[in-house]
């Protein structure tokens, strides 16, 4: 299945070819650029090239690979930084220097590294497809090696092995490898999906307390530039209560990714005290890397995340930002001359997004374990206007909406999450968990906190007309309390010891604020002046 290039327009290449299949991966030109068949016509295929097409010539050959765009899964994934096509950037750098050039034959997983294979089966055993043949331990992760098809094992290795050599052989001579490949656009199978009920603790008070997340849930936070999306993503990546974090830098800044790597290398995971990088996989396609690979990057990432979910782990996928993915989709669509929908985005934007979000969830894996995949995505709406298509398409499918507010960000209130507009559809479900495990007053305090903030909004409007001097003492007390809630509770400095707040600390802090408010309020009722009442509230606390 080989062809030749007949047309080139940007990263879209038309190839005279026969026998190509949709979504097949092809190697384009003498340089062997990676491309994907996106449309088939009689005797020709339209190929989306994932790399820079500069210098590509008419008449150059195109070779089929007979497989779809896949990722390699196996030991050695964690701590790595990959690009959108799962090329290991560290090793690419070692091979071609600090600037990314096209380079072939660098496998995503280090095939030279030695692992210890512990067999479960022995030579002579009959196995079915999917049966576990053995396992490889990598720190906290246990990679299961499963049979790709039914047959009788002729030989099974034990002990030291590499990914290049089979760890077992069938009687027909075919091998079983410790790494597997999986097409990125196909969700990995599981037994069944379970309703998400357990909270995912992020350590951010405003999220855990007011807009909680669940394991297996989805959340988005849209915000204009400078509202702290990236810092929030990275803070959650550092502290969230997950076994593995897959961080996708999708069309964002290179300096940020360098910073993330450096920081994660030096920081310790709170729970295991290993380096944070030991539980992190980074997928990065910065804004100046090819656009088509940016489109693929979130699929590459989610497939790796599913692989770990299938080990029965709780995986968190963070993507910054999904808008850049949407824009990549738009660029590809417009280069294919498809009919545009809203604001030039293709009409399949929302269905593709919804299908992507559906890959999150808590599942019972094929092996019977319980694993979850949670997604937190940032959205960068143009002009900070949330009525745009990507934000709207996300809103229809996600469970938590955390609105980042430019006004809050300008007054350096971070995380700049707007408490009156954000919501969590999981709040009702997980409040019970917090009541049972953290504080019996959790639900009640949450309710009161919301009420206070709501009443404050009304009072502010009044104060803007009559002046703060014109307010009654009880109202002024309320405004002082909400000021405390804002500055001591909702606000959280990502660069201090306060960057992580456990649910217990969160509950205690809210309890203290509400407690002194109650005491001062009681004082007012006894006829004390506001200052005296405040003093009384402070004394007791």
């Amino acid at each position: 299945m080989d062809g030749i290039i007949t047309c080139i327009s940007g990263s879209t290449v038309t190839v005279a070819i026969s026998g190509a299949k949709m979504c097949d991966m092809v190697l384009v030109g003498h340089a062997g650029l990676i491309g994907e068949v996106v449309r088939l016509e009689e005797e020709k295929a339209i190929v989306q090239v994932y790399e820079n097409t500069l210098g590509l010539g008419i008449g150059e050959p195109v070779a089929g690979t007979g497989k779809q765009l896949t990722v390699s899964l196996g030991p050695g994934l964690v701590s790595n930084m990959y690009d959108g096509l799962q090329r290991p950037l560290e090793r690419v750098r070692a091979a071609v220097g600090p600037f990314i050039r096209t380079c072939r034959d660098i496998p995503p997983l280090d095939t030279g590294a030695e692992w210890n294979f512990e067999p479960d089966r022995k030579a002579g055993d009959e196995v079915k497809a999917g049966d576990v043949i053995g396992r490889i331990r990598e720190g906290a992760f246990v990679h299961l090696v499963t049979a790709p098809c039914a047959g009788r094992l002729e030989q099974v290795q034990s002990g030291a092995c590499t990914l290049a050599e089979p760890v077992a052989r069938y009687t027909d001579g075919s091998g079983v490898f410790a790494q597997q490949e999986w097409p990125v656009r196909r969700p990995r199978p599981f037994r069944r999906k379970l309703p998400p009920v357990l909270p995912l603790v992020t350590g951010q008070r405003v999220i855990d307390f007011l807009f909680p997340l669940v394991r297996g849930g989805t959340a988005i936070f849209p915000g204009g530039f400078g509202t702290g999306k990236t810092i929030l993503e990275q803070t959650i990546a550092k502290f969230a209560d997950a076994d593995l974090v897959v961080y996708v830098g999708c069309g964002e800044r290179g300096n940020e990714m360098a910073e993330l790597l450096e920081e994660f290398r030096s920081l310790r995971d709170q729970r295991s005290s290993a380096s944070l990088l030991a539980r992190t996989i980074v997928v990065v396609n910065t804004s100046n890397m090819p656009v088509a690979a940016r489109e693929a990057s979130i699929y590459t990432a989610v497939t790796m995340a599913e692989y770990y979910r299938d080990m029965g782990l709780h995986v968190l996928l963070l993507a910054d930002s999904i808008s850049r993915w949407g824009e990549a989709l738009r660029e590809i669509s417009s280069s294919l001359e498809e009919m545009p929908g809203e604001e030039g985005y293709p009409t399949y934007l929302s269905s593709r997004l919804a299908a992507f979000f559906e890959r999150a969830g808590t599942v019972e894996t094929l092996g019977g374990a319980i694993g979850s995949l949670t997604m937190i995505l940032s959205v960068s709406p143009p002009g900070g206007d949330f009525s745009e298509p990507v934000t709207q398409a996300c809103l229809r499918t996600t469970g938590v909406f955390l609105m980042l507010d430019t006004t809050l960000a300008h007054s350096r209130h971070y995380p700049a999450i707007n408490w009156s507009q954000s919501y969590s559809l999981y709040a009702a479900g997980v409040t019970g968990h917090f009541i049972a495990h953290v504080s019996p007053a959790w639900g009640e305090m949450q309710q009161r906190c919301r009420e206070l903030l709501q009443r404050e909004a009304t009072l502010r409007e009044v104060a803007e007309i009559v002046g703060a001097e014109g307010l009654q003492d009880a109202d002024r007390l309320l405004m002082m309390t909400t000021e405390r809630i804002r500055s001591e509770f909702l606000r959280q400095n990502a660069y201090s010891d306060d960057a992580f707040s456990s649910p217990e600390q969160t509950a205690a802090r809210m309890g203290a604020i509400l407690g002194s408010h109650d005491r001062a309020e009681a004082g007012l009722k006894q006829g004390l002046s506001l200052d005296e009442a405040l003093e009384g509230g402070r004394d007791a606390s």
Partner: protein, 440 residues
């Protein structure tokens, strides 16, 4: 490699800066061509799109005088930039031809004009403080080496003077100096000569790429790429610290829109092409530092916001790519504050790494935070004052009003004089003390 030169006389149509050539064999994407007009003038062009035997070419120059019989010569190479140390001190046009009356330099190396993305694992974190001499930047929105920090201006505001002030005063923490790459895009002669005077006064090295308002629009797309290729070479091969000033990005984006429309591409917001984000990123992302390399590329683009609108696609997309922004305010300018930097919407994302003990001063973060917090309150109080009047406000709000007035007049409004970082921090500290607002 072709064994003979490929020449065609098969131009089938010309429109704007674009032309179609028919019946072309074995051409490649981005291939450079030379077009010979009937009167003998030669201009450069580049292959944009190939559809079978038909090739779309972008012409870098005037298409006036061209006819369908023009000769098109294909070069079999993609565009590369000649690079050498001797570029420093020279002035070029948007096509990298010297316009300072001196002969062309001898290249030591050829570089990719569009640049290659820096491998994120090879980047070094920007963390070295750059002193610009302006308190509003140094204290509150600190610039660091390898950062890209745009100046968002409005028509009629002194963005020129702010940029020139930074050029004149920028110093590295270690005392080193910058070599400046100055890229002028669609500048009027008036602006151009202002900047050239500044550069000449500075006495440090500079390389200038100049495309004036009446020069070919398509060159505006090339000039910043040449400038950055040159900066990357001087930084990462010759180990120099480069400061790249591009003014004005708005003209760049308008040129991009003009070419995109000529190509009959689908227009996005306000007619700008949908790929403008990626295109701008291909410029801005070239700033940075590389591990194991002594040089750096710091970028200071100037964006004039059309209609003073920060949500306009040009400042909006810029803000999403760059590491912060310095926003100039018409209100402050009208009150005579110079530099008229509105610190509330301004931001430096990399500030965190470049301040504190070992960089500036241990109390930097505390002072900056306190100034921000109180100034934000004061600005809110100003809104209140407009409605309820000063009398109806609480005493604490009235203090904030006075504080923010004094902050604008004394801390921000320093005039053209240069302030060292220590003096900047002391000015902020003194103000906080005067209003008994401790820096916590």
């Amino acid at each position: 490699m072709r064994l003979c030169e490929h020449r065609y006389r098969t131009v089938s149509s010309v429109g704007g800066p674009l032309m179609f050539v028919e019946g072309v064999f074995s051409v490649r994407m981005g291939e450079m061509v030379r077009i010979i007009y009937p009167d003998g003038t030669a201009v450069a062009g580049e292959v944009l799109k190939i559809s079978g035997r038909t090739v779309l070419i972008q012409v870098f120059g005037e298409t006036a005088g061209i006819d369908l019989g023009a000769k098109v010569i294909f070069s079999d190479t993609v565009r590369r930039a000649p690079l050498a140390r001797s570029m420093v001190g020279r002035v070029f046009n948007g096509s990298f031809e010297p316009i300072d009356g001196l002969p062309p330099f001898i290249p030591e190396q050829w570089g990719e004009v569009n640049g290659l993305p820096i491998n994120p694992t090879a980047r070094a974190c920007p963390e070295e403080f750059i002193e610009t001499g302006f308190t509003a930047i140094d204290t509150l929105n600190t610039l660091v080496k390898g950062q890209k920090l745009p100046i968002f201006s409005c028509a009629g505001l002194p963005s020129r003077e702010v940029a020139a002030g930074i050029l004149r005063n920028a110093r590295l923490a270690g005392g080193g100096e910058f070599v400046v790459v100055f890229v002028a895009l669609g500048l009027t002669h008036h602006d151009y000569s202002f900047y050239m005077d500044t550069l000449q006064e500075m006495g440090t090295g500079f390389v200038a790429f100049v495309n004036r308002a009446d020069e070919p629009v398509v060159e505006r797309l090339l000039a910043p790429r040449f400038g950055l290729t040159c900066a990357e070479y001087l930084a990462f091969v010759c180990a120099m610290d480069m400061l790249v000033v591009v003014t004005d990005i708005t003209n760049y984006c308008d040129a991009l829109r003009e070419v995109s429309t000529a190509r009959e591409e689908l227009p996005g917001r306000r007619g700008y092409p949908g790929y403008m984000y990626s295109d701008l990123a291909s410029l801005y992302e070239r700033a940075g530092r590389i591990q194991g390399s002594a040089g750096s590329v710091t970028m200071l683009p100037v964006v004039t916001m059309p209609e003073d609108d920060i949500t306009h696609p040009i400042p909006d997309l810029t803000g999403y790519i760059t590491e912060g922004q310095i926003v100039l305010s018409r209100e402050l300018h009208q009150r005579g504050v110079f530099p008229p930097i509105d610190v509330l919407p301004s931001l430096s994302r990399l500030m965190q790494h470049g301040i504190g003990a070992g960089h500036t001063r241990e109390d930097h973060r505390r002072i900056a935070d306190a100034l921000y917090r109180h100034y934000a309150k004061g600005r809110y109080a100003r809104g209140l004052e407009a409605v309820v009047g000063r009398e109806g406000m609480m005493e604490s709000d009235r203090v904030m009003l006075d504080f923010s007035d004094a902050f604008e007049a004394e801390v921000i409004g320093q005039g053209t004089a240069r302030r060292e970082i220590g003096a900047s921090l002391d000015a902020g500290m003194a103000l906080l003390r005067r209003f008994s607002l401790e820096a916590t």
